[in-house]
């Protein structure tokens, strides 16, 4: 087969398929999401979105237990959620191969924190592969399944944003069909109660010892001898930066990084005059070198953010290329809520109420930015609800406390928070932003939206019934595009001393296939008050005379601005023209 351009995530999907994977399961999260979106297109593999990473890891564990190969995918913070099954799956080991695809996000392009998955993997005693490009992603995933079965352990393939989302030439292979391993009752292996777990813990160490030996022999780890004056130990995409900027240096390229091949490292270090580690995030490799008593060059490279060819060059005394001077003071261009986004209606109301909003993660987190500035915290998925309760326990009275959470996030880890609120009997207000999709990560289906991975129909959770069953005293559904209706319901609910769930239900603007006719501003009627501009809609701005103007090409006719205009200055205009189709 000829080589074709593939993203790292496409290559992971291909590798898993070639390895005979039977099930792919995960929860979306940039930069990991496209793995399952690609895997679902292959025949012979069942793919599912789970409500969260813990469930996904347990489903995958069950597939393995049932004798088939499984891939489970998530972003780095997802592994925190899935850490509970992972840490004990290391003890039980596997039957069918079990591979975790975990994508780190150095530089936090789309994440709330930076984590190095290798550190968590080491704590969990599970092996790690680290590809440096798409070809390796494909090959390492195949190897990972073999290693999983050979050494009886789940295996992590650690990607990073640049490996997942850059495309490079990749040669694909054929699928190997793998027979199901017939089920056998093996409680000593799979029932991790203390007596049996103690035995498996000791066994895990012997498996790790065998894996350490594998680390020294696998071709995923290799020494490239060039000039012996400098030897660089590196892994992942950092390897590419080293090769680009320090082409003459000798390199120990590590593709299998837990457990580390100590003998290979010592051997390499003995062959070169000076040793340096170049790794993204960490410190991980450099800590291991320190414990091996190997003297390392102080490169000054940071463990925060991404590296690049030039940061590596400078670390070894090279000078950065000449650049042009900046030509102007530029306004930043943060991402923003789309024209017609239903979330805007809710945050408009919360702003008016001067609410203290414990927020959550999704597109709606953008409401924390000007001009809405109507979200006051964002920590991790699901945190909005527990934090709303905690803030009330602390006696917060500076404004009504409202927890706000998206539909996918609610299914992920909001339900248990709500259950806690009900159980505590304290009351409170929770808003679920039900835009019928997981918008932030690219419109995946979720258990609330009733759309399966691949786009087919699925059973949809009835949020109202669920909230009532959990113990909410009041459950009300509002149309967030109806600004005064939404505001009124929220005002009533925060005034009551009970537990209320308000469901703001309207589809994501990007899912509405036939937008309504756009609006325009009647110049004569506009008083320049700015009320519409403060909605932060990308379609609305001010002209040179401070009057509001609406870009009819962007406007989708949601009418929120019409409702905030007290001068009837915003009027419906005809349909926008057909724009044809580009690439």
């Amino acid at each position: 087969m000829a080589r074709a351009l593939m993203s790292g995530n496409e290559a992971v999907a291909r590798g898993a398929w070639e390895a005979g994977v039977a099930v792919g399961v995960g929860y979306p999260g940039t930069p990991s999401t496209e793995v399952l979106e690609n895997l679902v297109r292959y025949d012979g593999v069942r793919c599912e979105w789970a409500p969260n990473e813990k469930v996904a890891a347990e489903v995958a564990g069950g597939v393995s237990f049932g004798g088939r190969r499984a891939l489970v995918t998530m972003k780095h913070v997802g592994l925190n959620v899935a850490a509970d099954p992972l840490f004990t799956q290391a003890y039980t080991g596997v039957t069918g191969g079990l591979v975790y695809l975990v994508a780190d996000d150095p530089g936090m392009h789309s994440s709330q924190n930076e984590q190095d998955t290798r550190n968590l993997a080491a704590a969990a005693h599970v092996p790690v592969f680290e590809p440096a490009d798409s070809q390796e992603a494909l090959e390492f995933v195949r190897k990972a399944f073999d290693v999983s079965e050979r050494f009886d352990v789940p295996v992590i393939v650690r990607m990073t944003t640049r490996v997942s989302h850059s495309k490079s030439l990749t040669k694909a292979g054929e699928r190997t069909e793998i027979e199901r391993i017939p089920y056998e009752k093996r409680p000593q292996k799979y029932v991790m109660m203390p007596g049996m777990a103690r035995v498996r813990r000791v066994d895990l160490d012997s498996r790790l010892a065998a894996l350490a030996e594998y680390a020294g022999t696998t071709d995923a780890n290799r020494i490239e001898m060039r000039d012996v004056a400098l030897g660089i130990i590196t892994s992942g995409v950092a390897y590419q930066y080293v090769r680009e900027s320090m082409p003459d240096a000798s390199v120990l390229k590590l593709g299998f990084t837990n457990p580390l091949p100590d003998d290979l490292i010592l051997d390499f270090c003995s062959k070169v005059s000076r040793v340096a580690v170049v790794e993204e995030l960490g410190p991980y490799l450099s800590l291991r070198l320190r414990s091996l008593d190997i003297e390392q060059m102080d490169t000054g490279l940071s463990a925060i953010g991404e590296l690049s060819p030039v940061t590596v060059l400078r670390a070894f005394g090279g000078s950065a290329p000449e650049t042009r001077a900046q030509v102007a003071d530029l306004p930043p261009r943060p991402p923003l809520l789309c024209p017609g986004c239903p979330h805007r209606g809710v945050f408009h109301a919360l702003g008016k109420m001067r609410a203290v909003v414990t927020g959550d993660i999704g597109c709606y987190t953008l409401a924390a930015l000007a001009p809405l500035t109507a979200m006051d915290s964002c920590v991790c998925m699901g945190a909005s609800i527990g934090m709303a309760h905690g803030a009330a326990l602390a006696g917060t009275t500076e404004g009504p406390v409202v927890g706000v959470i998206g539909d996918s996030t609610f299914a992920h880890s909001g339900m248990t928070g709500l259950l806690h609120m009900a159980y505590s009997g304290k009351g409170g207000t929770v808003v679920v932003l039900d835009n019928r999709t997981t918008a932030m990560t690219g419109h995946q289906g979720n258990p609330v939206s009733g759309v399966a991975l691949g786009g087919g129909p699925a059973r949809a959770l009835d949020l109202e019934t669920l909230a009532k069953a959990m113990g909410a005293d009041s459950v009300r559904t509002v149309d967030p595009h109806d600004l005064s209706g939404t505001l009124e319901v929220l005002r009533q609910e925060v005034a009551e001393d009970h537990l209320s769930v308000v469901i703001a239900k309207a589809p994501c603007a990007l899912l509405v296939r036939e937008p309504k006719d756009p609006y325009a501003v009647d110049e004569e009627a506009c008083t320049k008050c700015g009320a519409c501009v403060r909605l932060g809609c990308p379609a609305i701005s001010r002209d040179e005379n401070s009057r509001a103007i609406i870009d009819t090409a962007l406007c989708v006719g949601c009418s929120q601005c019409v409702q905030v205009c007290r001068f009837d200055a915003i009027v419906r205009v005809g349909p926008s023209c057909d724009l044809g189709g580009g690439v």
């Binding site: 680009e244 943060p334 597109c363 403060r534």
Partner: protein, 196 residues
């Protein structure tokens, strides 16, 4: 041959990612090693988007550092100015004469930067109006293909390869209009000035 780097800079939704994909495929078809890098996620919600295509005999890094790129094709003027740092002092700069106001400007917190055009002109920019040329080609949504045409003018790839890859990528009914858009972009650069 060493590596050539092209940066396509624009605003989420302008089609830079798809344009980058076409460019990368053309380079592959011409026999080069290629890497393409883009950032997904948050950025797609109207933020700044830089797509980087690198080709040569052996391409290592998928990302570009300041002062490295030979070509900067900017889909918007503010983003042209922002991405200018990537361009080598002797690099080629093509700018779509269009501004998309970012949120702080829309809501009146920050002014629109003034005199961007003369400033970019002083940096050697060639300007064009991609939207107008796309309309002229009969497909207003093909501004990104017009801009691909401008990139093509400075790159060592055969015209047939471009046409084939574009033809494979666009909706069948729009192939002709897109090829016209491509041609108009390329011709605009051939003339050296792209006065609209």
């Amino acid at each position: 041959m060493s590596v050539t780097t092209v940066v396509l800079a624009g605003v989420g939704g302008q089609g830079t990612i798809l344009a980058g994909d076409v460019l990368a495929k053309v380079a592959v078809a011409e026999g080069y090693d290629v890497k393409l890098s883009e950032v997904h996620g948050m950025a797609q919600r109207g933020g700044s988007v830089d797509t980087v295509v690198r080709f040569g005999d052996d391409v290592r890094s998928p990302v570009v550092d300041p002062g490295v790129a030979e070509h900067l094709i900017a889909f918007e003027m503010i983003e042209a100015a922002r991405a200018l740092r990537f361009l080598r002092p002797d690099g080629r700069l093509v700018v779509n004469r269009r501004t998309v106001a970012p949120l702080p400007v829309l809501i009146g917190d920050l002014p629109m930067p003034e005199d961007l055009e003369p400033a970019l002109s002083a940096e050697g920019a060639v300007f064009l109006d991609a939207e107008a040329l796309a309309c002229e080609a009969g497909s207003p949504k093909s501004a990104n293909v017009v801009l691909l045409g401008t990139a093509a003018y400075g790159l060592p790839f055969a015209r047939e390869t471009w046409c084939r890859v574009i033809g494979e990528r666009v909706p069948p009914k729009t192939v002709e209009a897109n090829l016209r858009a491509f041609e108009l972009g390329s011709n605009a650069c051939a003339k050296g000035v792209c006065e609209a």
